[in-house]
Amino acid sequence: MTLVPGEIPINEVSSMREEGPPGLTLGDETAPGGGSVSSSGGLGRQFLRVFAESKLAVVGAVVIVLMILFCFVGPVFYHTNQTSAQSALLNSTQNSPPSATNPLGTDGSGFDILGRVMYGGQTSLEVGFAAAGIATGLGVVWGAVAGFFGGWVDALMMRIVDVLLSVPILFLLIVLAVIFQPSLGLLMLVIGFTAWLVPARLVRGETLTLRVREYVQAVRVMGGSGRRIVLRHIIPNTVGTIVVNATFQVADAILFLAALGFIGLGVPAPRTDWGSMLSNGVNYALDGYWWEIYPVAVAFVLVVVSINFVGDALRDALEIRLQRR
């Protein structure tokens, strides 16, 4: 195999995320051995076992679930006004420190911060998951089609990926956000549209090796159409790679939404997201109103770290599955 450096970057990127530092997940010492003990149950159970061995990942998964409950179910029990700026101004003091009525204080507009963290979290989580879904869907189909057809189709499709990938992502995101002045739905599309390139490359790489496998040849001999081969045989076999990448995509999308919110291009009022909240809180925090950034910051970092933990463990667990194959 000749080493073409132009191709190296992506392998490196994938190996960076694919292999990762072994010590990150605490269960890694036992993992390789665990892979060879294949007598215990099916792949699914084995996968779960390896995943559960990583304590950090389990903690991460629990934190994510709790956070989703906190943001989406929390407001049912902890009812606060988060939409009417007018009534917030009239009915509560602004920038008041934590107290019995407002456990985490209020912000510069008089909104209760505990409720606001829930409310902003809804947007951040929705956009994070939706954008990751869009990016993954688009990237998977794009990569599989390019890899499967090869030739000039592949060349053209991958050059498009190269071009978009060379634009620093935040610049592209800002340009799209300014041009389309996004609503919440459009924001998901815009973030998804800047994030599909890496999965496209990963899936294309896998497809190149999958399409020469015997079972794909067999389907072709039996008269299976290209569409069938891609949808039924190639994409399902790249699922491991896709799932791992999609997990990291969620974390990245939350970070990018926050960056847009900070610049002032986040979700339009009356909605808010964690990035916009941080952005608003920053000026007050510099005046000593610490409660306007710390609760959001903790929620934000906690969720992103947890998602990364889960992604790492998924990668380790799926690698075991791949080793056995």
Binding site: E19, P21, F171, I174, V175, I179, I263, G264, V304
Partner: protein, 318 residues
């Protein structure tokens, strides 16, 4: 070797041409077109028509693209900012060097810190130091630059007055460099994510190198563990870092946008944010193009360095 360079430059040229096409198309999908972006939302149809005729926007689209490319290649014409009443290239020309200084210092700093951190983690693997550093890298990885920057300002500028709250505002690079106290926090902010990801990569890369046959050979020859670590493992683990550097560039440049905004650093990132807030689309597309060009050139240099350093590439792809 030469063939490889030529092919790699060819690739980069194709990418840049694609980027010009992308930028050109983006300038045309603004609702209302460039005319509305320039003369405002209340322009009458007659005014728009006149503007289009003067500026050549009534020509066929491929003709417009040709004119755009010509202007770009011959005069580095990136358009005109109607908000600043100045050409985009002169606006960027003032700011770009400052951003390059910030990005350059931060990248070098990130390397200087991340490589030793990775080595420490390998030497003390699965010990408390290793876990602590891993945990920290996860946290910094999850922290957007604007949040980290704000926290740094809170602790080191407002509470303790160790460093300045705002980046140096000088017009020239010299005046910026002569104020290291003002540069500390922006550099820390911008390099944190890079340090986190590089040290993680360094750790796994070293771990992998430690399992190679040549390490066992070196051990069998009787080399001490320090010598094995630095002479054999480190040298091989460092090579991929060069590629990683090229890959990380787009992210570092993206991070510069946020860092410059937090510290009011008068570079291209801050220019981009003001352009976005003013919906100054020509300026926005200009900074995007220049940032992309810088990234493409940066990764080209990284790939060349890689080919020079790694003999496998040099001999493999003749």
């Amino acid at each position: 070797m030469l063939g490889y360079f030529v092919r790699r430059v060819g690739q980069a040229v194709v990418v840049v041409i694609g980027v010009t096409l992308l930028i050109f198309l983006l300038s045309h999908v603004i609702p209302g077109g460039p005319a509305r972006a320039a003369i405002g939302p209340r322009a009458t149809p007659a005014q728009i028509q006149q503007f289009n005729r003067i500026n050549g926007y009534d020509l066929p689209i491929w003709d417009q693209y040709y004119q755009y490319l010509r202007g770009l290649v011959l005069h580095f014409n990136l358009g005109y900012s109607y908000k600043y009443n100045q050409s985009v290239s002169s606006l960027i020309g003032e700011r770009l060097p400052k951003t390059l200084v910030l990005v350059g210092i931060s990248t070098v700093f990130a390397l200087i810190v991340a490589v030793p951190l990775g080595i420490v983690q390998v030497v003390r693997r699965n010990k408390p130091v290793d876990y602590t550093l891993t945990g920290l890298s996860f946290i910094f990885y999850a922290m957007p630059p604007f949040l980290l920057g704000t926290l740094l300002i809170l602790y080191f500028a407002i509470d303790t007055h160790l460093f300045s709250e705002e980046a140096p505002q000088g017009a020239s690079i010299g005046s910026i460099l002569s104020d290291p106290r003002g540069l500390v926090l922006p550099v820390l902010t911008l390099s944190a994510v890079t340090i986190a990801s590089f040290s993680r990569y360094m750790r796994s890369s070293m771990m992998e190198a430690m399992t190679e046959d040549y390490i066992r050979t070196a051990r069998a020859k009787g080399s001490g563990s320090r010598r094995v670590l630095f002479r054999h493992a480190l040298r091989n683990a460092l090579i991929p870092i060069i590629t990683l550097l090229g890959l990380a560039l787009p992210n570092i440049v993206s991070g510069a946008i946020l860092t410059e905004t937090v510290f009011n650093f008068p570079g291209m990132g801050l220019l981009t944010v003001t352009a976005a807030q003013d919906t100054d689309v020509p300026l926005l597309l200009g900074t995007t193009f220049v940032a992309t060009l810088a990234t493409v050139v940066g990764s080209l240099i990284a790939d060349f360095l890689y080919a020079v350093v790694d003999p496998r590439v040099r001999y493999g792809s003749r």
